[in-house]
């Protein structure tokens, strides 16, 4: 556990009418600049936990226990990049709107800031010069815009909800590199939700393994992957690791 946590989740419990233990007794904390991974199968409550941190629970789901303490603002990168953008609004305009709204800049200044931010995220010049709509961008490009949107809020914590799941493998890698580079530069903390253990181990210093709404194991990434204590964690690792071995795991 970190010394000065900027986000503390204590005994969080989320319930719907049908299932009172969608997320049950989940606790973790993050320090400044740290990255925490939430891994686990679909439906294990990872995304719900993230949404609870944002205060954006879907209708019909309520927080019934525990508390979330955060001293900094948070922003979220969603799973489906194209779905996270208004389809009828040019991307530069969307980004400029958020910048002007959050940072109180004038129209022109916020547009300029938007263009600079998109450049930082490595979007080609053509996308920045013309008014492009989300449907004209590739998935990876959309995800870069979504990350830019989140960064426009100058978040202390970036919440990533499977940001690479909807992308090609090669694009996944680029996006992860981009996020890592930005994190080093800007120093935000991250909660990284994924079901991909390879991605999680590359990104995160600590991991929480979730199953059926509970954290079954939590710890340092390396030690957790090398010596998993829980049977479910072992299963998760065994189900993932064979792929890198087949593709030349010797070099690792």
């Amino acid at each position: 556990m970190s010394m000065n946590p900027i986000l503390e989740v204590e005994a969080l419990t989320l319930s719907s009418r049908a299932n009172p233990k969608l997320v049950h007794n989940v606790s973790f904390s993050i320090g400044k600049g740290e990255t925490l991974g939430l891994v686990g199968e679909s439906g294990s409550g990872k995304s719900l936990t993230l949404r609870a941190i944002l205060g954006l629970l879907p209708q019909g789901i309520e927080q019934t226990g525990g508390q979330i303490k955060s001293s900094v603002s948070s922003a979220m990168v969603f799973q489906d990049p194209r779905g996270s953008l208004d389809p009828l609004c040019p991307v530069v305009k969307q980004l400029a709107e958020v910048i002007s709204y959050r940072q109180g800049l004038s129209r022109r200044a916020s547009r300029q800031a938007a263009l600079e931010l998109l450049e930082v995220l490595g979007l080609p010049l053509s996308l920045r010069q013309k008014d492009r709509y989300p449907s004209q961008l590739s998935g990876g490009q959309c995800q870069r815009v979504v990350i830019a949107l989140a960064l426009a809020c100058k978040p202390g914590i970036l919440l990533c909800d499977e940001p690479t799941t909807a992308l090609d493998v090669t694009v996944q890698e680029q996006i992860i590199e981009t996020i890592s580079a930005l994190q080093q530069e800007l120093g935000f903390a991250m909660v990284f939700v994924t079901h991909n253990l390879a991605v999680a181990s590359a990104m995160c210093s600590r991991l929480c393994v979730m199953r059926q709404g509970q954290i079954v194991e939590q710890g340092d990434t390396l030690s957790l992957l090398q010596a998993p204590q829980d049977a479910y964690t072992q299963m998760l690792i065994n189900s993932v690791l064979p792929v890198p071995v087949l593709e030349g795991g010797e070099q690792r």
Partner: protein, 288 residues
Amino acid sequence: MKTISAHNLTGPSRKSQGTLRRILKNPTLLGGIIMLAILVLLAILIPVISPYDPSAQDLRAFLQPPSAEHWLGTDQLGRDLFTRLIYAARTDLTIMVLAEIIPFCTGVFLGMLAGYYGKWIDNIISLVTDTFVAFPFYLIVIIVAFASGAGQRGIFITFMLVGWIVFARVTRGVTVSLRQQEWVASAQTLGLSGIRIMFRHILPNVLPQAVVVLMTDMVGLLVAIVTLGYLGIGIAPPTPDWGTMISDGQSFITTAWWLSAMPGLAVVYTGIALSLVGDGLADLWRRR
């Protein structure tokens, strides 16, 4: 093949393709627009085209069949039917458009409000719309028209009261489905206010559907205006109106059938034009 790959290289750019070109490629929309344009042009230019006054009676030349002098003949008071028909288009189309503007705006706004915020706002708005829908449309129209007095004022009041319902229902439905999309949640997490999300982002996504409904609803409104005129509780004579023209011509249906048939055809023509525009727009926006 070469042109295709070259086109792909430059990338599909929605703006550069041009709205005009996309309209030209859409025969339904183009047809509807042309039909409407002809009607509107005639209505604007009728004082220039026709030498007759729409309400000037000429009892020496009553109930004349169509001729070179009177293109569609004359009515029982010797008034030129073609002139009256187009002046009636002025009256009816103006009322139709004016009576549709405010209900359209309020309906879209209330629908977005209900769909976006849900909960009690949605409950109240849905309750009102569902109650109105349970009544037969013409029953409400005739009751309100009678209560508020015949004439244009009655029509405006009636449609102020009931016209917004259809837009509110459609807009609410679309908004609810948009609300579940991730970008709305994303916009909320980015800190944009509800009002801003509604007007800057939901509205452009809702508007195409609402405008398509507007076109079909205008047809219904036109028919209602004409029906009220026909029943004698709509636009009062001597202002020319298709409804009163149909009912006036009824007594002469065996000898001068065109007196009723022509205003009727004018309603059908306008209805077809508006429907074509509505269909065309729906098609245009669906392909986007």
